[in-house]
Amino acid sequence: MTLWQLEIARLLRTRRALVLAALFTFLGCTAPLLEHYAADILASATSDGVRVELPPPTPADGIASYESNAQQLGLIGVVVVASSALCFHARPQAFVFYRMRVARRRDMVVPRYVVVVGACVAAYLLGLFGAWYETTLLIGDPGVPRTLAHGGLMSLHLAFVVAGVAFIASFFRSVLASVGSSLGVYLVALPALSVVDFVEPWTPQALADSAAPLVSGSDGLGHYVVPAAVSAGLTVLLLAVSIQRVQTSARSRDRSAGSIPE
């Protein structure tokens, strides 16, 4: 069994992959539905004499509604799954097993990171397919290439989110603390930062908010080159720091090098 097989087993046997897939599929299937019936729902909820009129939903609204839900409930799921896998110090005795055997720090982090990102992206794209299908059925075709382009940008954003969780988790000895801090960063701090006009265009948050402008055609893919580059750069940086913070045993490193220093 390799560390890659171990991480795949972790996702499958702990049902984390199933939970992620179910969560994003649910969000993807319900968002266009709610968008389509938003006017009816509001009308039934308002009191007599009050009339609420909403513009008819567009295909971009269907996808944007999914993206909005994915950024909240979906993000919580991603952060919980990523923290559970990447908070090494939460189970110090189990960590000793790996520290004594894995020589290179990156071997400890990279398989966990890649497998978690893969599962999150797959779950997100599954939900996006559901959102695209229902939007096409109920509202209108949002366009496959533009939906896929948004999916690609959001995948990059998810890779950045998981790298951030890996970085944050390296400072904590509890999964709960790692989840709380990560949610604070991704649900509060980053959205707050993107309110600042001159910062917003190049923050990773711009990738997550790309659904409506990209699918409606108001923005092209070129508009997201800078935030995509920033996200990719930050992802590499956060991951590199996380790898550096992992402690392996001096003995396993010595064994890997084939000698014991005297």
Binding site: M1, R13, Q93, S249, I260
Partner: protein
Amino acid sequence: MSVGRAALTSAGLSRDFGGVGVFDVDLHIDRGSVYGLVGRNGAGKTTLLSMLAGLEKPDSGLVKLDGTTVSMCPDVPEFEPWLTALEVVELSAGLGAPRRSGVREQALCDAALRDAALRVLSRVGMESAARRRVGGFSRGMLQRLSLAAALVVRPDLLILDEPTSGLDPEGRRTILDLVRDLKQESTIILSSHIVHDVESVCDALGLLDGGRLVLQGRTADILDAHARPVWRLQSRSSREARILAAALRAEEWTLSVEPASEFGLLVEAASVEAGERGIPQVVSREGCALAGLTALDSDLESILLSVSSASASTVASMTGGGTRTWRGP
């Protein structure tokens, strides 16, 4: 301490956690021996073992190893609960094995690793639980699984931190029997606060007190050096006790003979050898029954307690080199 080839030596090994930790530890552990590290809770055993295993970086000092493969079993082993015991051992074996280039070669290598994992699980008595998930294992099963995961890499040095803590008597005996067998293959360092376990399997031992190694030597040498020539002799009647007391007092090798409990005597001799030879001779000569003869305070636990208590008052003033070493003849 020893004339054997050293599997591990340390010099001035220290790790200070603000007044507590490990200070100036000089170890010498012979190749193929079982070395027992004893001490109270909080004496620094786990910190020292972590430094020897390379898990903790010392503030100062160095560790020299003869060999490249070190395995450690922590005091409370923990594994992924959703893995089977076989998978844990396979993972342990696989992480140290190089990947093969071809699919067929890799499959053969995986099969060999699986065979090795099954053999080791069988050796620790866990073959029937090999395909059970670890999540439902008892503490004893986890200890044995930890040992299997360590053994499958054929370590030159095996470090066992409190391997028998929390185990029932049968589990303890299984682990200790395994340790005895393993010294043919590896050098073993075993920490414990159960002195009887250390006494029964360790060739040599070190006593940690307040983070300092206050005693180090071969177990037999330490026992010999500290054995007090005092015995409790138990007779069958008060009459025989009086006869024996008078006869023993007349011997020139006895220092004192005092009554102790009913039909009992406390006999202090000039030397261990004189008492061991002389007391049975006197009992036999006088035609008395010997209901019991027990050496007092000569077990390892009593010795370590007395050394530990004595060191507590002096260690505070030590600046290093405070280890008392007993050498073999």
